[in-house]
Amino acid sequence: MPSSENKIIIACAGSGKTTRLVTEALANRDRRIAFVTYTNNNIREIIKRFSELNSGVPKHVDVVTWFGFLLRECARPYQRSKYAEKRIESLLFVNGQSAKYIKETDTKRHYFANGELIYSDKIAKFVVECENRSSQRVTARLRQIYTDVFIDEFQDLAGWDLEFAKMLLQSGIRVMLVGDPRQHIYSTNPSSKNKQYLGIEIVKLLEIWKKDGLCTLEPMSGTHRCNAAICEYANALWPGMDAMKSLGNDTTDHDGVFLVAENAVNDYIKRHSPQVLRYDKRAATYGCEALNFGLAKGLEFGRVLIVPTGPIKKYLQSGTLSHVKASRDKLHVAVTRARHSVAFVFDGQSPIVPTRFSP
């Protein structure tokens, strides 16, 4: 019987989702919680939040990385039901698909490098296989250890990871998935499995899970970070999604979204000291320390200055979303870093950003 206690929270940028999870964990000391997140940066962030609210991670909570959790608590314990030749020593991180031309039936070479390093894109698949072949021992064991599994940044799950997440949702453990499909930057898994649910499309899968009684969906749409004008710009990127609403109301002399002409950039930087954000290192940085969009995820600045890519320029010029189909998530991340102001280095006119900075 699927557990309706499972909850998926779609949390917008600046909604305080990490704080929410940490608070939830601290309020339930009678439970045993695995707090799973994707990157080491997120781990540090979570531990920091626990330190602020509780002077440390309490005993009933384990903060672990996604791959650490998969390897230690899911793949290894019953690996012999699928692969008994060698111990799974570690993970091998791959970009793209591993061992592309090796059939599934060749377990050793399909899943492993050297017979002992499991490919990062296949570990979730391996775990699902172990679960099925061991009469659900993987989840039975997890149920003995944990009452709850919290997964942060669920938007980064893809491919077989989603099957694994579904396996957890059906396991009787209370699962809480939190993330923002608009901020899909990394993929845990480039497999062709579930590729129709990549990025923002994951929302469709969440709806199916909800319909099947696997979980409830809850939006967290209020942002403590971005002001109304920034929210409005960001919301325009995502028609059909729950709109972000600004909860803050402190104002400055320079609030909103602006265009800055190339020849005025230096004046702008001098006047407002924004954080420069760029798509990647090929972009100009105007003598400042610039951050790539992806790396800025999770961070917050008063003001940002975005160096747009060609497609983003086209979007600014036309207001037509199809131009940023591929970079919409990253653009969203860049825009929603700012509390007060977002500026684009752009010489032309834009129907969506009418205000131009004048020195």
């Binding site: 045993r32 230690r72 608590e73 290894r76 314990p77 019953y78 690996q79 012999r80 039901s81 111990r87 799974i88 061991s134 021992r137 064991r141 003995q144 250890i145 944990y146």
Partner: protein, 536 residues
């Protein structure tokens, strides 16, 4: 938490060895050289990563490896054959407790028996980087046939196949070693053990803090500040920094080097060995952590009979709710603690237990712990007799027939008394021991046949009952007279009785003296038939 079974392979003389354990008391019994102590060492190793009081990583010695396996490996390598390198594997299978999440973390299917339960595995195997070096080393005839431990490494993992550390374990194992064989390293080894076994973590922290405070206080003492003022002035000549003396506050001078245990104001190490043993065991029993596994090696060492008795009462009263694994050479200890808790290790490396022993038989030996049950358990074959005179006669008869005393052939003649025969036989039957009973018929053949009804046809066990069915010869002495002439017996006993009746009267009145003479005589005499059958 308790251990259901332990699997040991390649450790000392134990290969492919399994011992099943119950959740309370386990008494490991075995002859010398069967690996009793090794079982305890192996359990300590897999639960604590400690061997001989040290972390095994720094204490691997070549003799940890099974000698036969090592010799075979070297031999095969020298014939240039491929062979699996010797290794040590020890696995502890824990009982799965659905309500203990910390234990479930150790759960998985990565073990030799393919069981799904929590557990630990300790492996000493060749480091993958050194496999080739080991192969070359073993193949070279000029090297000694000794494992080069430099090529080996230790891994300690759960059945989930994840590495573990002591902190991950939701239980502790306390080892109490009372034998003289192991000399403690350092004067405070005992204290360190007490602290580890008895104090809780917060108590340990308190102790450490109190000691730090004390040391800090030292430099505040008026005498010490005066000295420091003096040094500060004088020190100027040597350095332009401030020179003072302080107690060493670094971790290398922690409290366990400065504190020692006392018994009645006497340093612990100065107390008698017996008292040390008893205190050590009592402390471990009273240990703060309830979830302990207690390992006790030969508690009978250094203890007088009455102290041993007290200690055994302590163990049986206070360890009711924890797992105890104990080795012993003492039938007294075994009987007192309940012979049903026996785990018997044989020379062939098999283990047996007394499951299904009647409770009143266990009680019988608890109340009469003097019976030498261990001798029955440990000998290849036993002949049970009624008393010392039968024992002597059987021994002599055996020597006449086989040229050696029975014990030299591993046959033990044990006098148990007619009342205890059936108790011994119950044990023998459960363990499928080879046992002969030499008994008087006491003039009532029907009663004897009724008493041994289960054993007379001899189809189901190795137990045989030997008696003479002529009720006119009810006991040993008439039987001796039946087999030998009055003249022979008179000569042996140095008597001159003119009729059988007075001779018999004398013999029956001085049973042991008579038997002793029969045993010692240089005369030859004929063995009564039922005894002759028993020593075939």
């Amino acid at each position: 938490m308790h251990i259901d079974r332990v699997y040991i392979d390649g450790f000392k003389r134990l290969t492919n060895f399994t011992v099943e354990l119950n959740d309370r008391l386990n008494i490991i019994v075995g002859d010398n050289e069967t690996g009793k102590t090794s079982v305890l060492e192996a359990i300590t190793l897999v639960l604590t990563r400690q061997y001989d009081g040290r972390t095994i990583d720094y204490a691997i010695d070549p003799y940890i490896f099974n000698a036969t396996t090592v010799a075979e490996y070297f031999a095969r390598r020298r014939r240039n054959e491929q062979a699996p390198p010797p290794r040590v594997l020890i696995e502890a299978y824990f009982h799965d407790e659905p309500t203990e999440p910390a234990l479930a973390k150790l759960k998985g299917g990565n073990n030799t028996k393919n069981e799904n339960c929590p557990g630990l595995e300790l492996r000493i195997d060749v480091d993958p980087d050194h496999v080739e070096s080991l192969k070359e080393y073993a193949a070279d005839n000029s090297n000694p046939v000794v494992i080069p431990v430099e090529f080996y490494r230790v891994t300690w993992r759960s059945f989930a196949s994840n590495g573990v550390t002591l902190r991950d374990l939701p239980f502790r194992a306390a080892t109490i070693d009372t034998s003289l064989a192991r000399v403690y390293r350092g004067p405070n080894k005992y204290l360190a053990q007490v602290v580890n076994d008895v104090l809780t973590e917060s108590q340990r922290r308190q102790l450490s803090l109190a000691y730090k405070k004390l040391r800090h206080g030292f430099s505040q003492e008026p005498g010490v500040t005066a000295i420091n003022d003096h040094l500060e002035q004088q020190g100027n000549r040597a350095t332009n920094k401030k020179l003072t003396i302080q107690m060493d506050m670094s971790s290398r001078s922690s409290w366990d080097n400065a504190i020692t245990a006392h018994l009645d104001e006497l340093p612990f190490d100065c107390a008698g060995k017996g008292e040390q043993c008893r205190v050590q065991i009592r402390l471990a029993i009273a240990g703060a952590e309830q979830s302990q596994v207690l390992l006790i090696e030969e508690p009978e060492n250094h203890l007088s009979h009455s102290n041993l008795n007290k200690l055994i009462n302590d163990i049986s009263n206070d360890c009711a709710d924890r797992q105890v694994i104990l080795t012993t050479h003492s039938a007294f200890v075994l009987n007192k603690l309940g012979i049903d808790n026996l785990r018997l290790i044989s020379h062939s490396g098999n283990t047996a237990s007394l499951t299904g022993l009647a409770p009143d038989t266990k009680d019988y030996f608890m109340k009469l712990p003097g019976y030498d049950t261990l001798r029955l358990l440990l000998s290849k074959r036993s002949i049970l007799v009624e008393g010392p005179s039968d024992e002597l006669v059987v021994q002599r008869a055996y020597k006449d027939k086989h040229g050696k005393l029975p014990l030299e052939h591993g046959v033990d003649v044990i006098s148990v008394g007619a009342l205890a025969f059936k108790r011994f036989l119950e044990i023998a039957e459960l363990l499928n021991l080879d046992v002969g009973v030499v008994t008087d018929n006491d003039g009532d053949i029907a009663a004897l046949q009724a008493k041994y009804a289960g054993y007379l046809n001899g189809e189901n066990s190795k137990i045989r009952i030997f008696y003479d069915s002529d009720k006119l010869y009810p006991t040993l002495e008439p039987q001796l007279l039946k087999a030998n002439s009055r003249q022979t017996l008179n000569t042996i006993l140095g008597k001159k009785y003119a009729d059988d009746a007075t001779l018999l009267k004398d013999m029956s009145g001085n049973k042991t003296d008579c038997a002793l003479k029969m045993f010692e005589t240089t005369e030859t005499w004929k063995t009564p038939e039922y005894i002759a059958n028993a020593i075939e």
